[in-house]
Amino acid sequence: MLNDSILSLITFVPTAGAIVVALLPRSGKLIQWFTLLVTLATFGLTLHLPAHYHYGQSGFQFEENHPWIASPKIGYHLGVDGISMWLVVLVGFLGPMAVLASWKAIETRTKEFYFLFLLQQTAMIGVFVALDMFLYYGFWELSLVPMAILIAMFGRNRGAQAAIKFFLFTFIPSAFLLVGMLWLYAKTGTFDFVETQQYLSQNGSLLAPQALWWVSLAFLFAFAVKVPVFPLHGWLSDVFSEAPTAMAMVVAGKLGLYSIIRFNLGLFPAQSRQIAPLMITLAVIGILYGALIALVQQDLKRFIAFSTVGHLSFCTLGIFCFTVVGLNGSVYQILNHELSGAAMLILFGILYERYGTYDMALYGGLAGRLPRMATLYLITTLSLIGLPILNGFVGEFLILSSSFGVHPYWGAAATLGVILSAAYMLGMIQKLFYGQQSQLVANKPVPDVMAREGFALVPAAILMLVLGVASPYWIRAISDAVNGLAGNVAHATVTLTTNVAEKR
């Protein structure tokens, strides 16, 4: 039965592809074509998941569970629920896009590039499907390596420094994550996520609350850096400016946010509830801070980095509202942002390929010369701003409406971020595409969007529209999974508020 091994297939087809890439000769475009084929095949396989998903069930599906190492007890346990399923499909979808975006941008060392790129695919999918914490941690750490090496190899000017910075920023917090996991293992005797969750919900009160609190913090810290949550975003702008497009597309957001939902909400509902005010504050600060910094950026890559900080903070906000609506919105917004953010990065990349600069001030009046590109830029921008009928609107609306219900003032402040986001995004469009043609644009005739680029971007644009108008189709599965989580946290809330009440 395909259902029993589909997740392993999705996870390891890219690895198998990577091994073949390592053996292929470095001639012509063979490696590119092969990698494209592998990513398309992976994407095809990921589509199996929504096609055979049993809606209306909570819990994990397509599970595979085999013993792996006897002692310490570690299993090879894979599975997806409504949250991770769409993220896996998303990774699958972005794969071919990234290959097409790198087609011309990466011309030297293609073998190394595509080998590491495919490993990165495995690592990211692995993070989403692993249900054993050891295995999860494995993929989590593995996802750093190809990224760091590729940044070092293909950085624009300070690749090596950016790579080391990125690696340390995520690796050192992960050490705390490992301490937390080992502590849980010492108490529960298992690395299995489902078993740990059961143990904690039944016997959690037997464990020292102080220790549990520190463990939950260790988890949160590691994930928050990866998102990144303000003020832990120090690595992001360097990585965005140095990393090749295909890597910048996938570096931020989904891994960290997914992990917060899965582990912090799933394992430590009470502790998450306690830390929520802090996280909501940081999220709102992040929204405003990211937007304000993005307003004054001249470098397109830094611009998108700070706008990413702002947009991802919306997801953090939605998560820590603990409502079904907010969580739905957050998960949905992760999908949206990864899609639209990736498209934006590709668009910046193809502009760079043509003009050789990311400096906004050097551009101007592109619309007259590159009408098709202008259209794609506009659609992507509007999607990131959150214009109704495009995808960004749905996510932001759900998040903001739930945050208004729970924390009206913070909700109001976050809404200000939406306005700012529109301001800087449209400002960027204006500088690039309208006004007088700049010297650079006037003197250098370049082709408009080519077929290869169109293949990467048009499906993305269509998907933005589809996600915008047909959101219930996606949210159906997400909602099933989120219901259970929100219930978990709500239950924790009751005990907690009574505690607070007693203290008062």
Binding site: G138, V145, A152, M153, L182
Partner: protein, 498 residues
């Protein structure tokens, strides 16, 4: 006690001794200009035979020989195989790095074999004086090997430093044995535990044990006895450093484990805090020291101090899992360290032409194979999952946390986070765009022996990371034979563990 011929119990040692002696005898008979490499291949054959013999010893009923001085059990076999594996890889790397100009190659091959004999004896000896003799054999061989680069002033300097401090440490070890004998009237490790309870002067045993810890602490370069390490590593040639940073340490750790867990479990209140401090200190000093190094060998010298710290964490755990974790990590560290020094020695030759981190800039472009292998070993040293380096570290800290050593675990894991920085510098340098470099142009083509050595070390590192089951089982079987109960009834327990 047993009906197998006694010689079977030391068969691997005998094979290697004969190999070494043959090499010593044949070497002067060869023409002065003829290549010494056939002797190296002879040594490889001898090591393979000894590896097979060690493995075969698992078939024997566990037991002792030669008046109860040597014992073969799952534990000794585990370390025998590890040492033979390290020696095998080292010989292959030497065959790769040696050129027609290399002097004294025949002696080097013989010394490697003799050193291995000493180390193996240390792991199977259960009588402290025999262990001491093993320690001396192994140490003297490594002292000489450290000075192998006679032409460079650093070589003899390294050898003399190592020799002076090393003999000082061995004296500590010997004095410790004397004191333990004074307290208990025996030098047989399994007998000490029993006699300790009826000892008139247990304080002597405590002092003796401390001295043994100091002596062995020096050999494994654990802080605060680590000062010699950077100098010696810098002076010795890469091949030799690869060997001496792994095999003698594995043997010394094996002895320390046996002494602590078999002879002195009763004194754990005494030695556990001592080891706790040494572990925390070694990890911190090692990693902080490595941070500012520009020289790759100095960097790895400090990193080996940190590694001694990680291992001592497992010692401190006071559990079967801790012993197994220590044994396991010894093997995984050996695989990646020998591997990385194989790359250094291939790139730099016997004279170590490439010493600085920036000398390796662009290595991955010059030779994708060497660059890829270097990256892989560095990733394993950093502790990225699916490598032996990660699983070893993971297992060590899992066992430590299981025993409630929360702070030591936090210190250790934060340290391993810091450690990533210096490994990454080398990694990033190897993958940075190359500047034109005569140093890199001088790197010879990859030879067959090097390929074998890399294959051996890479495969071991990967297997230990992805399917560690069998090695773990071996380490656990070994750990079981060390438990105090097993010391009395060795036979039954090992068989059960298998």
């Amino acid at each position: 006690m047993t009906d197998v011929p006694q010689i079977y119990r030391i068969l691997p040692e005998v094979i290697l001794t004969i190999t070494g002696v043959i090499i010593m005898l044949v070497e002067p008979l060869l023409a002065k200009n003829s290549s010494r490499k056939p002797l190296g291949w002879l040594a490889v054959l001898g090591t393979l035979a000894s590896l097979a013999a060690s493995n075969w010893q698992l078939q024997l009923p566990a037991g002792t020989a030669f008046y109860g001085t040597v014992q073969t059990d799952a534990y000794s076999v585990f370390f025998h195989v590890a040492i033979a594996g390290i020696v095998l890889a080292t010989l292959l790397v030497t065959l790769d790095a040696a050129t027609a100009e290399t002097e004294g190659l025949g002696e080097l091959f013989a010394l490697i074999c003799f050193g291995a004999v000493g180390m193996m004896l240390m792991t199977s000896g259960i009588e402290l004086l025999l262990v001491f003799i093993g320690l001396e054999i192994s140490s003297i061989s490594t002292y000489i090997m450290a000075g192998f680069r006679k032409k460079s002033a650093k070589g003899p300097e390294a050898a003399i430093k190592y020799f002076l401090l090393g003999s000082f440490a061995t004296a500590f070890f010997l004095y410790g044995i004397a004191l333990i004998f004074g307290a208990t009237g025996t030098t047989v490790i399994p007998a000490v535990a029993g006699l300790l309870t009826s000892s008139q002067t247990p304080i002597l045993a405590s002092i003796g044990l401390t001295m043994i810890i100091i002596g062995l602490g020096f050999k494994v370069s654990a802080a605060p006895f680590q000062v010699w390490t950077p100098d010696v590593y810098e002076g010795a040639t890469s091949v030799v450093v690869g060997l001496m940073s792994t095999a003698p340490k594995a043997a010394a750790f094996a002895v320390l484990l046996r002494v602590l867990y078999v002879a002195f479990p009763a004194l754990h209140n005494h030695w556990q805090p001592l080891l706790w401090g040494m572990a925390a200190l070694s990890m911190t000093i090692g990693n902080l020291g490595a941070l500012r190094q520009q020289n790759v060998k100095l960097m790895l010298a400090y990193s080996s101090i940190a590694y001694a710290g990680y291992l001592l964490v497992a010692f401190t755990a006071l559990s079967q899992d801790g012993i197994a974790a220590a044994s396991f990590y010894t093997v995984s560290y050996a695989a990646m360290n020998v591997g990385i020094f194989a790359i250094f020695s291939h790139a730099g030759g016997m004279g170590d032409r490439l010493t600085l981190i920036q000398d390796y800039r662009g290595l991955a472009y010059r030779s994708p194979l060497l660059g890829g292998a270097l990256a892989f070993f560095l990733i394993s040293l950093i502790g990225i999952p699916f490598t032996g380096g990660f699983f070893g570290k993971f297992y060590v800290f899992a066992s430590a946390l299981h025993s409630g050593l929360v702070w030591l675990t936090i210190i250790g894991l934060v340290n391993s986070g810091i450690a990533a920085y210096y490994y990454l510098r080398l990694l990033a340098s190897a993958y940075s765009k190359p500047v034109h470099s005569d140093l890199l142009d001088g790197i010879p083509r990859v030879s067959i022996p090097l390929l074998f050595a890399l294959l051996l070390t890479v495969a071991t590192t990967l297997i230990l990371g992805i399917v560690p089951g069998r090695v773990l089982a071996g380490a656990k079987a070994g750990a079981n034979t060390l438990s105090p109960a097993a010391a009395i009834d060795i036979g039954g327990n090992t068989d059960a563990a298998k």
